[in-house]
């Protein structure tokens, strides 16, 4: 299998363009509250994970994030992500009613690896949320995404690992999707 570095410049540009189109479209769906359509972009075996981050001494920086399988802010599969989306439309989801206004900026795309139909892409994001009259939240971080190419063109999101810069979450909730 050809890894990303072995591809020609033209092939890399084309791949990056396709990946970018997918991630920008995905962000657009979330920003425009088209959550059901967003769910259609998820692979059945998606792992959606956000560990807890801590302030540590420089010499113990390996403690900075909690480990997979342990405590996390998100450790979701398709089923729980579907629940998060369904929650928004059944009423009494007060964190999102009235709905938040969000805008996602996806940048610094870097394709790390291509292995068969699997593309590993790291990217940075800023998720800005404002609610009601004057509430504001900003979450900035890094995502380690894995996209899976599907027959007939396009991708599914097979992994999203989210690494926030905040340790103590400075928001009263994280009812947004990253």
């Amino acid at each position: 299998m050809s890894s990303y570095q072995q591809l020609s410049t033209q092939e890399r540009m084309l791949l990056k363009f396709e990946v970018e189109e997918f991630l920008f479209y995905e962000a657009e769906l979330l920003d425009s509250r088209r959550f059901d359509e967003w769910l259609n972009l998820l692979a059945d075996d998606i792992h959606y994970w956000m560990p807890i981050r801590r302030t540590t001494q420089a010499k113990e920086i390996e403690l900075e994030f909690t480990k997979p399988g342990g405590m996390a802010f998100f450790d979701d599969d398709r089923n729980t992500l579907t629940m998060r989306v369904e929650r928004l439309s059944v009423g009494r989801a007060w964190a999102e009613d009235p709905p938040s206004r969000t805008r996602r900026l996806i940048t610094n795309l870097k394709i790390i690896n291509v292995e068969g139909d699997k593309i590993t892409v790291h990217n940075n994001f800023e998720l800005y949320r404002t609610r009601l009259n004057s509430e504001e939240d900003t979450w900035i971080g890094r995502r380690e995404d894995v996209l899976r190419r599907i027959e007939g063109g396009g991708f599914l999101l097979a992994q999203r690992h989210i690494f926030l810069e905040q340790t103590v979450i400075l928001s009263q909730n994280m009812s947004s999707l990253f």
Partner: protein, 451 residues
């Protein structure tokens, strides 16, 4: 004629009239007033036994984690004698913090400003330039880190107080506080997991405490979590509530089962049909003789749900939540998670699944709490709004405290606000007591008879 002098519109708030036990009326200003908040830091957090950590979180000498007593940062650290110390995180030289990490392991605490160095028990062990600059005229024994007045633990739960007049932890917790912690160990010894969910909510800390006794909000606040099937509706709206009130403001308020239900459950166990019932996986274990003995005849029928006054909630999902004040209008929520040591891999995973998905800032249940708590706090800010009383009257004078030969007095009833009323009444006593001697002598004993 109105006096043209505007000196101040601040008339002192009379704590005694902030809450009326006979009507359940509560003065909203207790959730927003800066002077009240400052007095809470001094008289409640400064005097109380504050939860620090569980012993299992400090596995070896030098293990530490950061916590708070009110707004004062403290380091909780295990020393070389395996003793747990609680040190105020401020260097006596210029006030700088001597520890900046939330957790870790260290040999000593080294001040990054001028290099004063402290041992794990807070003793000052080295000062750069002690001979050349201080000419050996400084007594190091006088300039160590301030230690908590007392550090004690109950079943692995470590508490500290800054007040040397505080009664021993055992006495402070009383049977209600101790029972509240006993619930965590019905499945045997526990260990705390790595990773504390922390987030900030723009609410007064007491609004969060009030909410833990509140089984009235579940259907409304968490309606969406129920509708998508994340919560069992029947389990979360139990009609049978058990409330136990303890000295110094501790309380347990949550679901329980009646004596008849317990008898039926026991009978089913005998016939081998005693599988898990309700949502409490520990229910089965309560048939064990040693657990029953620990929880007592009444405690065995309760599912727990205590607040260890002032701010430690022992939840139902093998989690405890500390509500740390960050000013009158902000609270930091810390969710600690634990597991019984003897747990199958499958049970362990299922427990972590619940802990990661139910509560915390992204919790499918708890997301909606922050919204309601912050807006309730806002209701205590508006000039006119804050002059209006809040209604804490549910169940007032409708129930009776039932005694038990074991001493486990309790109220068995429907959804109610007994726990909240007890919290506000105790809060008044803490806020008006001159000192611990006064509080010990004059605090209310838990109610008997009609409540």
């Amino acid at each position: 004629m109105v006096d043209s002098m505007i000196a101040t519109d601040k008339t002192p708030i009379d704590i005694d009239s902030c809450f009326d036990m006979t009507t359940g009326n509560l003065d909203r200003r207790i959730f927003s007033d800066v002077d009240i908040y400052q007095r809470e830091l001094k008289q409640i957090f400064g005097r109380a036994w504050n939860f620090m950590c569980h012993e299992s979180q400090l596995s070896k000498p030098g293990s530490f984690l950061m916590n708070y007593i009110g707004e004062d940062e403290v380091i909780v650290v295990r020393d070389r004698k395996r003793q747990i110390n609680v040190l105020l995180n401020t260097c006596p030289h210029r006030g700088n913090t001597v520890c900046r990490a939330e957790l870790g392991t260290t040999k000593s605490f080294f001040c990054s400003y001028h290099g004063w160095n402290y041992d794990l028990d807070g003793r000052l062990i080295a000062i750069p330039g002690e001979d050349k600059f201080y000419r050996n005229k400084i007594d190091k024994t006088e300039w160590g880190l301030t230690t908590a007045a007392k550090v004690e633990s109950y079943r692995g739960f470590v508490f500290a107080t800054l007040d040397s007049d505080a009664p021993p932890l055992n006495e402070y917790l009383g049977w209600v506080g101790k029972l509240g912690i006993d619930f965590t160990q019905v499945d045997g010894d526990i260990e705390f997991l790595d990773g504390i969910h922390k987030n900030r909510v723009q609410c007064n800390w007491k609004i969060a405490v009030d909410n833990l006794y509140d089984w009235y909000h579940v259907n409304v606040s968490h309606g969406s979590a129920m509708k998508v099937g994340f919560l069992n509706e029947a389990a979360m709206a139990p009609m049978h509530q058990m409330v136990m009130l303890g000295e110094y403001g501790h309380g347990i308020g949550g679901p329980g089962i009646t004596e008849a239900q317990q008898a039926e459950f026991d009978a089913r166990l005998v016939t081998g049909n005693g599988e898990r019932q309700w949502y409490d996986p520990s229910a089965r274990h309560r048939t064990k003789a040693e657990v029953r003995e620990q929880l007592g005849p009444v405690g065995t029928r309760s599912f727990g749900h205590p607040n260890i006054f002032p701010n430690l909630w022992v939840g139902l999902t093998r989690q405890i939540c500390l509500r740390i004040p960050r000013g009158p209008l902000e609270t930091e929520l810390w969710w600690f998670s634990y597991q019984p040591k003897a747990l199958s891999e499958e049970a362990r995973k299922s427990s972590i699944f619940t802990q990661n998905h139910l509560l915390g800032p992204a919790g499918i249940l708890e997301q909606d709490d922050g919204e309601n708590w912050s807006h309730s706090t806002r209701g205590a800010i508006g000039t006119h709004s804050k002059s209006l009383p809040l209604n804490i009257s549910m169940g007032l004078r409708q129930d009776r405290v039932m005694n038990d030969p074991s001493g486990q007095s309790r109220i068995e009833t429907v959804v109610n606000e007994h726990g909240q009323r007890w919290t506000y009444k105790s809060w008044q006593e803490w806020m008006t007591a001159a000192n611990w001697h006064d509080l010990i002598a004059n605090h209310s004993t838990p109610p008997t008879g009609e409540v």
